[in-house]
Chain length 503, copies 2
């Protein structure tokens, strides 16, 4: 009996250029009829006109008033003509430019961009436990995100709480620009920090003003304070990013039953209205600025009030959000995510369900796709590794299978006797080195071998994997140059006292 | 500030008639073009004609010869006209009749039936560890399957290895008919055991011969020994189930790279050919007998030769199988499943991916949807509970969301001030008792509360859940009567020495 060919172990980190710009393999699902979507859109317009948004930044209210809105104290009432103009001026497709042009991304409906779990105050792993995030944790999260081609954008995975807040943005941006060449992120914590962020990108990438302004180099997420409130830093970010030609990802956080109506349709009305209202301000500040709408809609548990993720309602909110985004023709973001407190089956289940909801919805950006725990309170390193397995599986599904004449395997079928095996066919020998997705953390050994290796769960095995990736990490080309250009700027700004945040 | 309404805890086991006959909510995905599918189908026909199948049972070869096949020793060459006749005679839709008519199921393309993990020699839970399955384990698996409306059919979850094999089928059927009123299963281990099984159903359900023969009361799974071999008990089951009007679920087990070509397209050629070849025998034995085609196709790991599940190739095989089944217009089965050795994130990830593959493929029956570990070597009770969470989430997604005028929530949106909350709106008060899917095992409490409760992972929490369901279990109506009718039959057959299996 012929020996089975044995393939060599695959390295943890593979160079997979075909994973760097994915497009959705599955057609978007329609949960609501076209009429129902038109009805939700119409009620969102009515909400903006009749109920209005509370916008806490005077500068933003002034821009909206000049644009035609009626303003009464903090309340801004936005007409449907203004919304239509914003939808018309916002680009349906734009390029995200990276330090490494090979990592540039096209953002539009149909694209599929994965971003890591972000915005977490805490970090967690099996060695150090759960703790407030630090600079070291954030840097490691950047290294991991950089190392895996299936993650497309960076993100503020965990908050470096050991750095004072007026200096924190230097650390966040320096890490992103020197440990990675992927698309970076700036928190919208007020003009001073945002302008520092823009300056760091121009400086590190050695961009002239025009090249910076005419291309998208960085994104921020603008969360509304649902229901119907945009606070001062968020309003300022909508203005400042637009004027700098950079990307705002407008993200109402409408948990149905708490900050939004208890129905999926009602929560979508609110989410869509808030996204469009924020878009109006953004587009008035600079028509044509790159913007992403969408949301992060799920539900709360009505027994405890706790946020829930990966629920049927989370999936439905995602699908409805996609329908509304396509209704207005704009690119949008969704999110995966987990409420679980630890890297267990619940966490995996919630993340897979919400990920597939985003796939059914054809979300352009899938945020929080790896590492999110506790509804975003913790970035978990073992969870991150296990989530990447799911993302790599989906990325593989973005490629059509081979349907060549050879793939049909007539010769191999002819070669193998009934009850035999295909290990030694010419077709197998020609293809076995590259056939099939190679798992990152899944252990396919039999029970005896698995026990002999210590009976480790996949969260336990993941520890060695993220450690190994960090150990093997080398910064991408150009990092030293970017670091050298950046250092004098950061030194000067630190000496000047840093930059305060806007409350 | 108004108090949030607090809903009472939901019982673990809910009466959910709307989950008892599901239909796919998502349109089937096409991985291959119509031409490519026609090409795979054509090559499968050529395989049956030119390469043939090895069929080890003489009785089966005789039936096929009379039906027009050419036979050379064990090899049977089946013409495409015979395949076309079988496709034409097999029903596209049929009813699965249960002890409780409220649990009857329609099997056809578009239907979505979940079955528990089956065929496992071992059982495993956190109390008793991993061990060879016993009668007690099997009975508990039946009780759990019966208790959860989202599981539609029974299955031989774990093998009662403490019962001698010539008596085992009495235990398997007695448990199914007295602890459950769902659709049961008989192993195709030879005519003597199969006829005992049919007799037990007729006896327990008090069916006259005609009512039994004219309706489908039980199913078996017929696995081919891929490639191209049908052994004696499987061939006999194809004949005997057809003649009794009962359901065969024809299931080639084509692991790409081992028992099938290393390409998805090639593995589909083989799987489809084997399924159609088995169908020909089945339909020649009794034209119009209820049959399900499909397969359980995934890939092996080319590093170790181990079966892999939840991989991109598993998803692609499922989708291709669905396209081929729709091409011939017959209902089909797929399977979820996990290779993981324990109830961890890998296990959850593999099961979710393969489950979603089946959803994208619109599999009529999703076998092994709860509890499967180690590629089917172990039925895990904690895995079962966690998988049911996924199935209940999908079942909830099978219902369209409310899109009534009230659901749009205008009054609620009007009622809540910017930055406020919806906990106390009239809309919330009217709906909070029934809003949102209530999780079975997911713990949504915050990290502090979770730690206070012992920092339990979801596999650890699942132990108390399956224990509680078993503790609360009461057999369904009619069980006592079915048991009383069955007892004399089983006593007699035991006294007669039971029934041997066919090798």
């Amino acid at each position: 009996m012929a020996r089975r060919p044995r393939r060599q172990p695959t390295p943890l980190v593979q160079d997979r250029p075909e994973w760097r710009q994915l497009r959705h393999p599955f057609a978007p699902h329609a949960l609501f009829s076209d009429d129902e979507i038109a009805g939700i859109h119409a009620m969102a317009l009515r909400l903006l006109e009749e109920l209005g948004l509370s916008i806490l930044l005077k500068e933003a209210r002034d821009i909206l008033a000049i644009g035609g809105a009626s303003v009464e104290e903090d309340m801004v009432f936005i007409g449907r003509d203004m919304v239509e103009a914003a939808i018309a001026s916002a680009p349906a497709s734009f390029r995200l430019c990276c330090a490494n042009p090979l990592r540039d991304l096209q953002m539009e409906n149909g694209a599929l961009l994965f971003g890591p779990g972000s915005g977490c105050p805490n970090a967690s792993d099996r060695i150090h436990g759960r703790r407030p995030g630090t600079q070291a944790d954030f840097e490691n999260a950047v290294r991991l995100t950089q190392s895996l081609d299936v993650l497309h954008t960076l993100g503020p995975c965990c908050e470096p709480q050991d750095i004072p807040v007026h200096l924190r943005h230097y650390v966040l941006m320096q890490s992103q620009l020197t440990l990675s060449d992927k698309f970076p992120f700036i928190y919208g914590r007020g003009r001073a920090q945002v302008e520092d962020g823009f300056a760091m990108i121009r400086t590190a990438l050695d961009l002239d003003e025009e090249t910076f302004l005419n291309n998208a180099w960085v994104e921020t997420v603008v969360n509304t304070n649902s229901p119907r409130l945009i606070d001062r830093p968020m309003a300022q970010a909508l203005i400042d990013f637009a004027r700098a030609g950079q990307v705002v990802v407008i993200t109402p956080f409408c948990l149905s039953g708490a900050m939004a109506p208890i129905t999926v349709a009602g929560a979508l009305v609110l989410q869509h209205a808030e996204a469009l209202g924020a878009l109006v301000l953004n587009q008035l500040a600079c028509p044509g600025a790159p913007a992403v709408i969408g949301g992060f809609g799920s539900n709360v548990d009505m027994k405890s009030g706790a946020p829930a993720f990966g629920t049927p309602e989370h999936v439905q909110m995602s699908i409805g959000t996609g329908q509304l985004a396509r209704h207005v023709g704009l690119p949008w973001r969704g999110a995966a995510g987990a409420a679980s407190n630890t890297a267990d089956m619940q966490a995996a289940g919630e993340t897979h369900m919400s990920l597939w909801g985003n796939l059914m919805a054809n979300a352009g950006m899938v945020k929080h796709a790896a590492g999110w725990l506790e509804g975003g309170l913790t970035f978990g390193f073992e969870k991150f590794i296990n989530d990447v397995e799911a993302l790599q599986t989906i990325a593989t599904l973005c490629t059509q299978p081979d349907t060549s004449a050879d793939s049909l395997g007539w010769d191999a079928l002819n070669e193998v006797a009934p009850g035999g095996h295909f290990f030694a066919t010419a077709q197998t020998m020609n293809r076995y080195e590259t056939a099939f997705y190679q798992p990152l953390v899944a252990d396919l050994s039999n029970h005896g071998a698995w026990e002999k290796n210590g009976s480790l769960r996949s969260d336990e095995r993941a520890t060695a994997i993220w450690q190994q990736i960090l150990k093997d990490f080398t910064p991408p080309p150009g990092s030293t140059e970017r670091a050298a250009r950046l250092e004098p700027f950061i030194a000067r700004r630190r000496a000047e006292g840093g930059a305060p945040i806007l409350d």
